[in-house]
């Protein structure tokens, strides 16, 4: 049969954002694929060259509305590295707590979206419902539901609100019971298993060479997590473990994210136990020195890295963002080849696309 190219996107229910997947098909089988991005390119890196360092914090929130806390954290971490700022210990623990809450919220949004991709509408409604609990917690900390503007260079904006620990631990207890329920819904669905198991195979060597990071890499059985591998904040003082799964398919990526949500609950409990009293923010200089710095973190979607060049003024000379999904999506052709067109939503959904950070 003749081969032909099909455009899936920029308007397509599978895309979860504004991008285009071109697939070359032979009948129903995918023989080649080509992701096309750039529809959302805002010139973020150029834009911030015109802004003062503190003004960029709310902009970095907008890199990904699903995980905005971790992006503004990465930005602040990079500038602290550039300016040589030491963050108070209590602020580091608060950061870990809100980052893990953000990770759970992000993974829940992914779980909900994956449910709709694969026809599990109950899973969508349930996961979105529980995500709201975590957004409420983050709102009580920062005042905003999604773009928080809470991280500051040299700490966090304010201390935790009264009774936050109680509310947070109650939510976690409730959520862990609900997580068992989701596993019954998802793992108990034969359709879900048929559509994810042995689909979207990505072997570990390819995953490493193509720069894939995050749950997609750990779903290929590679035990790498920057929180442990290149520890930042106080992750090295907490007792936790990396979640991996050896299957290398869409189901493995689903499993890794489910386990990570449990692990995040565990990390938050540990952090509350060890959290000291003290200040949450230090004063930082207005101008950055003439040098370069970079920092990297484990975003909910993979490795985030920012590289900044300071030129002695109050604005960055250059700020480069390494977005995890930008690299992961360049590796999807290898996951798609050989599968059917009907498998595309399952494979692309398992990557957890976010176009705001991809296009910047």
């Amino acid at each position: 049969m003749a081969e032909m190219w099909i455009n899936m996107g920029p308007q397509h229910p599978m895309t979860h954002g504004l991008w285009n997947l071109r697939v070359k098909v032979d009948g129903e089988t995918i023989v080649d694929a080509e992701p096309v991005v750039g529809y959302l390119h805002r010139g973020w890196e150029k834009l911030v060259e015109n802004r003062m360092y503190p003004q960029i914090i709310p902009l970095s929130d907008r890199l990904c509305y699903g995980a905005s806390m971790s992006w503004s954290h990465l930005y602040c971490l990079t500038i602290e590295e550039l300016m040589g700022v030491e963050v108070p210990e209590r602020a580091e623990y608060i950061r870990v707590i809100v980052l893990e809450l953000q990770r759970i919220a992000s993974h829940l949004m992914w779980l909900a979206a994956y449910g709709t991709d694969l026809g599990l509408l109950t899973g969508f409604v349930y996961a979105m419902r529980e995500r709201e609990l975590f957004l409420d917690l983050l709102q009580s900390v920062s005042g905003a539901r999604m773009t928080y503007n809470y991280m500051r260079i040299g700490g966090v904006r304010n201390d935790l609100p009264p009774n936050f620990e109680r509310d947070c631990l109650r939510t976690l207890d409730y959520f862990e019971k609900k997580l068992d329920e989701y596993e019954q819904i998802y793992d108990g669905s034969d359709i879900f298993l048929m559509r994810t198991q042995d689909i979207g195979y990505l072997k570990p060597a390819d995953a490493i060479n193509l720069g894939v990071t995050g749950p997609t890499l750990r779903g290929s059985g590679v035990k790498i997590d920057i929180r442990e591998h290149d520890p930042y904040s106080v992750y090295d003082e907490l007792d936790w473990d990396i979640c991996t799964h050896p299957d290398c398919d869409c189901y493995a990526r689903y499993r890794v994210r489910m386990d990570e949500m449990r692990m995040s609950c565990h990390i938050i409990r540990e952090a509350f136990k060890k959290m000291p009293d003290g200040p949450v923010r230090v004063k930082v200089p207005r101008n950055a020195p003439k040098r370069t710095a970079f920092a990297r973190v484990e975003d909910p979607r993979g490795e985030g890295l920012m590289y900044v060049i300071g030129d002695g003024t109050d604005r960055p000379f250059r700020l480069k963002v390494r977005s995890p999904i930008f690299v992961t999506v360049s590796a999807v052709p290898i996951m798609l080849k050989g599968y059917k067109v009907a498998d595309v939503p399952a494979i692309m959904g398992s990557v957890d696309m976010c176009l705001g950070e991809t296009d910047r």
């Binding site: 390119h41 150029k46 060479n209 193509l210 890295l305 390494r322």
Partner: protein, 158 residues
């Protein structure tokens, strides 16, 4: 994990990597500094492919975190952040390239992860990567006539 990835050393992993690089590339590589899990270096553009090949095959730098283009006004720079999962170390390599001849060897044949980063650097700065499998614009339309992240491309308010 305290593995040094097969390196014979009595000092830290970072020092062992620096020693190995210095021994193989006596000219062309300058080590700017070492910090825990961080190495900063500068390299000549003529040896960048050979250096990266050595780093990948002998020193187990198996992951490209980032390839950055920079416009320093009098010159361009390409900054590589390479990381090693086994040695737990990030190596930053800065390479200067002249403004009137922005060309450098591509490292995409070594690491597929560098592919889109190099395309982005080409798209935004016009830096050409030799032997790149497909050096085309990635964010902007094909017929764009300018490179918007260059410093001589001004925004409205500047």
């Amino acid at each position: 994990m305290n593995s040094t990835g097969g390196l014979e050393t009595s000092g830290s992993t970072e020092e062992a990597i620096v020693d190995a690089v210095r021994k193989t590339f006596p000219d062309g590589v300058t080590i700017g500094g070492i910090a825990p899990r961080r190495i900063f270096a500068r390299a000549d553009r003529a040896i960048i492919y050979k250096l990266c090949e050595f780093l990948k095959n002998e020193l187990k730098f198996d992951h490209v975190s980032c390839v950055t283009g920079v416009d320093r006004i009098d010159r361009f720079q390409v900054v590589y952040h390479l990381s090693s999962y086994e040695n737990r170390c990030v190596l930053e390599i800065t390479v200067d390239i002249p403004h009137d001849d922005p060309e450098i060897d591509s490292v995409t044949p070594l690491w597929g992860g560098a592919n889109w980063h190099e395309r982005e650097a080409y798209d935004m700065f016009g830096i050409r990567f030799k032997n790149h499998p497909r050096l085309e614009r990635i964010f902007l339309p094909e017929d764009t006539q300018y490179f918007p992240f260059r410093k001589d491309f001004k925004l409205g308010r500047q």
